[in-house]
């Protein structure tokens, strides 16, 4: 089957734009392509329309079955001759090379599905202001807040997540045989089937909130003679302070506090950020600004201690720095000035 060149390119761009991690250079090329001809624009809009209609397709289709089919040898043979490799830039398609490459790809895919089935791992990160959810093969869902990165590794006995930086909400699917463990620096959260939120501020400092179910929080960040030490080889995990939390409880772990205070919290409030909203109740401006700064490259600085203590109430969208600035601009005695990309708030 022969395809028109710009149709191939359109499909190629469609898939590239849906990846969620297109680079600037890639988007630049895409704009060039769109601006090259109205035909390209028309073709891309056709795909947009098609995409809408495809929403009604395969409602009951079983993906596992398809994956199994792809692994069958006779399928690889069928798969090969028809593969198209639409080039990003204008390039003459090399047919033989393409066919050989696609047979190789099909084989890799077939082998890959066999081997990787029992193990699953990936590194996921969000940019400033980004919010992203991933669903894992076990049915668990992890939602990443702004500027967050985590690595997960699942095998037959363990589900391990390393929260490298930032904040994430974990909706853990119940699986008695495989504990779900989140490590955040020197702190570790263990769960079976539950839903909880972890905000890692540093290797030592984290806030854990349980929305539902029960988790065990264990910290190896201990204070000895004012010196913070992490876990060492001869440390028995059982020596580490640990605390059990249930739904509606929050714990804030700080390096210099051995006593771990558990505070009650509304579960709705704890997961509020997933709706891109934050409610402030009698919160000092210092905290509000710190929250907003997490979601934006351009930073706000409060240059006055009294102002930093000013209390704020209301529901805000943390992604919309403009809203907070507008609010502050109309407040009496508050001065907002831009310094480069950033904003200084003073009196």
């Amino acid at each position: 089957m022969k395809h028109k060149q710009n149709r191939i390119e359109a499909a190629r761009w469609w898939a590239a734009m849906r990846s969620g991690d297109s680079s600037r250079a890639e988007r630049e090329q895409f704009v060039d392509w769109l601006q090259a001809s109205p035909e390209n624009v028309a073709e891309y809009l056709e795909l947009a329309d098609l995409w809408g209609e495809l929403g009604a397709m395969g409602k009951d289709a079983d993906v596992e079955e398809l994956i199994a089919q792809a692994g069958e040898p006779n399928n690889i043979v069928e798969f090969a001759p028809e593969v198209h490799e639409p080039p990003l830039v204008n390039q003459r398609p090399r047919k033989l090379y393409g066919a050989v490459a696609s047979v190789a790809c099909a084989l890799v895919v077939a082998i890959g599905t066999l081997i990787l089935r029992s193990q699953e791992s990936d590194l996921i990160a969000t940019a400033v202001g980004e919010l992203r959810s991933i669903s894992l093969s076990d049915g668990s869902i992890i939602t990443l807040n702004t500027r967050t990165s985590l690595r997960y590794e699942f095998d037959d006995s363990l589900r391990q997540v390393e929260l490298i930086d930032g904040e994430a909400l974990f909706d853990v699917a119940h699986d008695l045989s495989r504990p779900f463990i989140v490590s955040a620096g020197e702190n570790e959260i263990r769960a079976l089937g539950t839903s909880f939120n972890v905000y890692k501020k540093s290797d030592m400092e984290a806030t854990v909130t349980v929305l539902e179910g029960r988790v065990v929080v264990r910290t190896s960040a201990m204070v000895v003679d004012e010196q913070i030490i992490g876990a060492s080889d001869n440390d028995e995990p059982s020596d580490h302070p640990q605390v059990e939390l249930t739904g509606g409880e929050r714990i804030h772990i700080q390096p210099r506090e051995l006593l771990l205070p558990v505070t009650p919290v509304s579960p709705d409030r704890a997961a509020e950020w997933t709706t891109r909203r934050i409610t402030f109740e009698n919160s000092p401006l210092r905290d509000v600004v710190a929250q907003f700064n997490r979601y934006s490259v351009s930073q706000l600085l409060v240059d006055d201690p009294e102002l930093a203590d000013m209390r704020l109430n209301g529901v805000f969208e943390p992604h919309s720095q403009e809203d907070l600035l507008a609010y502050l601009r109309q407040a009496e005695g508050v001065n907002v000035r831009g310094v480069g990309n950033n904003w200084v708030i003073s009196r």
Binding site: V31, S37, L54, L66, V109, T275
Partner: protein
């Protein structure tokens, strides 16, 4: 839970869906569709390049959706109230409905013919809203291959619809 999984892009896509659909079904004259695309193209050229590069797709969809809306306003001016009712979604002309049905049948057939992995990738993305990384994990492959599968699925569906149309 499902709500939380939808990315902002998807929500935007969905809103534009209706209006892009409108481009095809409400503007039945091919010349008018061509004019609309031409105008979308011109607006795209005039748009500040830096902005375009940030989110090219969102800008294109917004331009097209606006044009479709403008077209609706323009054409709506000249019809009576009775005909206006005809423009409502649920009261399409019978021949248009038949054409739409035929189109969906063609798409159905093309979709059924898709090779397993492109089909799986498409389902996981379009139907289940998974990210490329998640799809790659499910299919035991790389994000790069997911992109290829998806692009192939789109190309096959698109091509099938045109060929059989002629």
């Amino acid at each position: 839970m499902v709500e939380r999984r939808r990315s902002v892009e998807e929500i935007i896509d969905q809103r534009y869906d209706d209006l892009l659909h409108f481009v095809r079904y409400r503007i039945r004259d091919p010349d008018e569709v061509r004019d609309l695309v031409q105008e979308a193209f011109m607006r795209l050229l005039r748009r500040d390049r830096e902005h375009l590069i940030e989110r090219p797709e969102a800008y294109l969809f917004r331009i097209a959706a606006n044009l479709a809306y403008e077209h609706r306003l323009r054409s709506g001016r000249f019809v009576s109230d009775m005909q206006c009712a005809d423009l409502d979604d649920h009261s399409e002309a019978p021949e248009a409905r038949a054409a739409e049905q035929e189109r969906m049948q063609r798409l159905d057939a093309a979709f059924a013919r898709l090779p397993p992995l492109p089909k799986a990738a498409l389902l996981l993305q379009r139907r289940d809203g998974l990210s490329y990384a998640e799809i790659a994990a499910r299919l035991g492959t790389t994000k790069h291959m997911v992109k290829k599968h998806l692009s192939r699925a789109m190309l096959e569906c698109r091509a099938a619809m045109i060929e059989e149309h002629r």
